[in-house]
Amino acid sequence: MDGLWEIVSDFTVRNALLGALILGTLSGVLGTFAVLREQSLLGDALSHAALPGICIGFLIAGSRQLWPLALGALAAGAVASWCVLLLVRYSRLKADASMGVVLSTFFAAGTVLLTYIQNHQLPGQAGLDSFLFGQAAGLLPSDLWVMGAVAAAGVGLVLVFWKEFKLLTFDPGFARSLGWPVRLLEGLLTSMIALAVVVGLQMVGVVLMVAMLIAPAAAARQWARRLETMVVLAALFGATSGMAGTLISLVRPGLATGPLIVLAATGLVVVSLLIAPERGLVWRAVQRRRTRAALESGRVLVDMLQLARAHGDESYASAQGMISAVYGADAEAALLRLEKAGLVEPVTPEHGTGRHWHLTEKGREAARRLLKEREE
């Protein structure tokens, strides 16, 4: 525990963790809208497209300070999202190809600029390619200010336009019919993804940024039924996975931060997909088994009542073999469940062999009710 505290109180580590917190929160919030609006892969396009912006920012500023690079990335992201919109609207290319074109050509231009910077020995370029995969250890306090400001702007915009973004996400047609500037709002929401990309540059890098947008939101979606809950949960998941990945990369230098954060976030998704109430796959399977068992118990109960009535005696005891003949191997389990619930009890027959069961008073009551429901 002391060791962990030592790590956390370290200057570099505190910066890195704070960065992860900022990034996770912002990408969780913005990712929620991207995922719900089925624009997940736009995040991929915009994050790859940031590379040329970073390089141009470096070429203009001549140093590796974050703010010019962030500005460049932001501008490149805006241009890229504009290009995607342009291609979708005015060419025969569909959304997938438009995104693919923008993603890959922008990134290609970025590699050209990156190699230009590297091959021409420009000063101060060291570690520029850490933006490909992120390197949290290099985070400076000044970087944190930039990231914090961008994140505050992003979250602030979401809060200001909460109502608008919500309607835009779930019913854009209605928003249009209200006379809202839907295209403008859509453009705003889309280009805000670029904000998240900017914040993620240093932490996860441009290549894996898409996962930071999608994974926390996808995990949160499994637990939440309301947008409010989903946004908060996504921010929480994003921050958690960000800090987890960062901590591991600091403990084991040499491991790139981005992939660790991404794997942490993916882990959260997998767990959520499995156990989240209502939607989780395991949760569903358990529910289905329970429902099936309840249905079967009900059927056994009703059958026993009808069998007893056919014998003119509601306390008639049915042979377990009889019930097994109808329900096979499940009969035993169903009878035991019913016994536990106090609806049937075993009786020892005066003659004949095998176990017999008859309905208790409570069981008869329940069976009559079920029978009546069935008749209705």
Partner: protein
């Protein structure tokens, strides 16, 4: 002869670039048309996991098992994405975006952990290094043939064979999957084979251009050709031509500015796409704008004809059918009404009489006006 060609380093590099482009765009054409082009994005990232795993098991970056490992990784990506999408817990697009970054992240970490210092660093993986492709050679029949050239030739051949042999099936599967299925052509199987070949091509292209530039060659040349033509075979041939052209110009530009060769080739394809988008013969922005302008002008002319016809024999003809009236009655600004009258005169639909200063319909103009008003009647 062949030896002399192989000694020419520039030529070898351009040939490899062109082969990557041709092999990728042959498959990319169908992916773009099927609206599945982003699977190439997913595949090109996740084949890295296959490569790393095979490397860790065999200790060889160039073992032929690489192709198998990568093909499996590529298919696993697609399969997992579709499975996740089919579970309806996340949307299909988010499913793709969840699976491939995870596999890619895993691959990068494995490289960090176990394969530092080998040829497989993340940087090369992303960007490739075409400039060194000719250094790695295999001797065959007394010739030293660059490995990339050899693999890419083989892969291009296989892809070309696949597309030629299953041309009809692929075409139907892309344009009408339901019909293809009904005819028993197994479009899903075909799609998976397509993605399998995409994965194999991605591995082959890895050394040369890296993961992300590979996506460019899959998507951009077919998308460019698609903006230029409606014929499927022309899209295939056109995108191959674009790939070759991009390879040559990209190489020249990369040499000129001393930058990444693969990156420059990819950037040039993007430039071609932009040109096709703006100046394409039929679907280009300029062509569309011209067509729109012409249609608008023609609509004005038809409006003028109808206006003239409706007042032709009434007593207000002297007031209505003069150029000045158009400004008031049709609310056309003076310049527009002059232009419309001039266009109508040029087409021989209207004459301006010098005697009464009125606009008169010619026989052809009257016919056209009637056709506008009563399109069901044959004139």
């Amino acid at each position: 002869m062949l030896a002399a060609l192989l000694d020419n380093v520039d030529l070898v590099i351009m040939a490899i670039g062109a082969l990557v482009g041709i092999a990728a765009s042959l498959l990319g054409t169908f992916l773009v048309l099927r609206r599945s082009s982003l699977y190439s994005d997913a595949i090109s990232h996740s084949v890295l996991l296959g490569i790393v795993l095979v490397y860790l098991m065999s200790g060889d970056v160039h073992s032929p098992y690489q192709l198998v490992g990568a093909a499996l990784a590529g298919l696993a990506t697609v399969y997992l994405s579709e499975l996740l999408g089919a579970s309806r817990r996340v949307k299909q697009d988010a499913a793709i975006g969840l699976v491939f970054p995870a596999l890619f992240a895993l691959a990068v970490l494995l490289i960090n952990l176990y394969a530092r210092d080998v040829h497989l660093d993340e940087h090369a993986v992303l960007l490739g290094e075409l400039a060194f492709a000719w250094l790695d050679v295999v001797p065959i029949g007394g010739l030293e043939i660059p490995r990339s050239l050899l693999t890419m030739s083989a892969i291009t051949l296989v892809n070309a064979l696949f597309v030629t042999l299953f041309y009809k099936e692929l075409k139907l599967a892309v344009f009408d999957e339901g019909l293809a299925h009904a005819l028993g052509l197994k479009p899903r199987l075909l799609f998976y084979i397509l993605l399998l070949l995409t994965s194999v091509t991605a591995v082959g292209a890895f050394d040369a251009v890296g993961a992300i530039l590979f996506i460019t060659f899959v998507i951009v040349p077919p998308a460019t050709a698609y903006l230029l033509t409606d014929r499927l075979w022309l899209v295939l041939v056109g995108s191959a031509a674009i790939a070759v052209l991009a390879s040559v110009t990209g190489f020249a530009l990369a040499m000129r500015f001393d930058v990444s060769i693969g990156g420059m080739m990819a950037t040039v394809t993007g430039f071609f796409l932009a040109v096709a988008f703006v100046a394409g013969p039929r679907y280009g922005l300029v062509a569309r704008w011209l067509r729109l302008r012409q249609q608008r002008a023609q609509a004005h002319v038809r409006m003028l004809l109808v206006h003239l016809l409706s007042h032709e024999y009434d007593e207000e003809a002297a007031l209505e059918n003069v150029p000045a009236a158009l400004e008031h009655h049709l609310r056309w600004p003076p310049r527009l009404s002059q232009a419309v009258v001039a266009a109508a005169q040029a087409q021989g639909l209207v004459t301006l009489s010098t005697r009464d200063q009125r606009l008169h319909l010619t026989e052809a103009g009257r016919d056209m006006a009637r056709e506008v008003l009563e399109p069901w009647r044959r004139h």
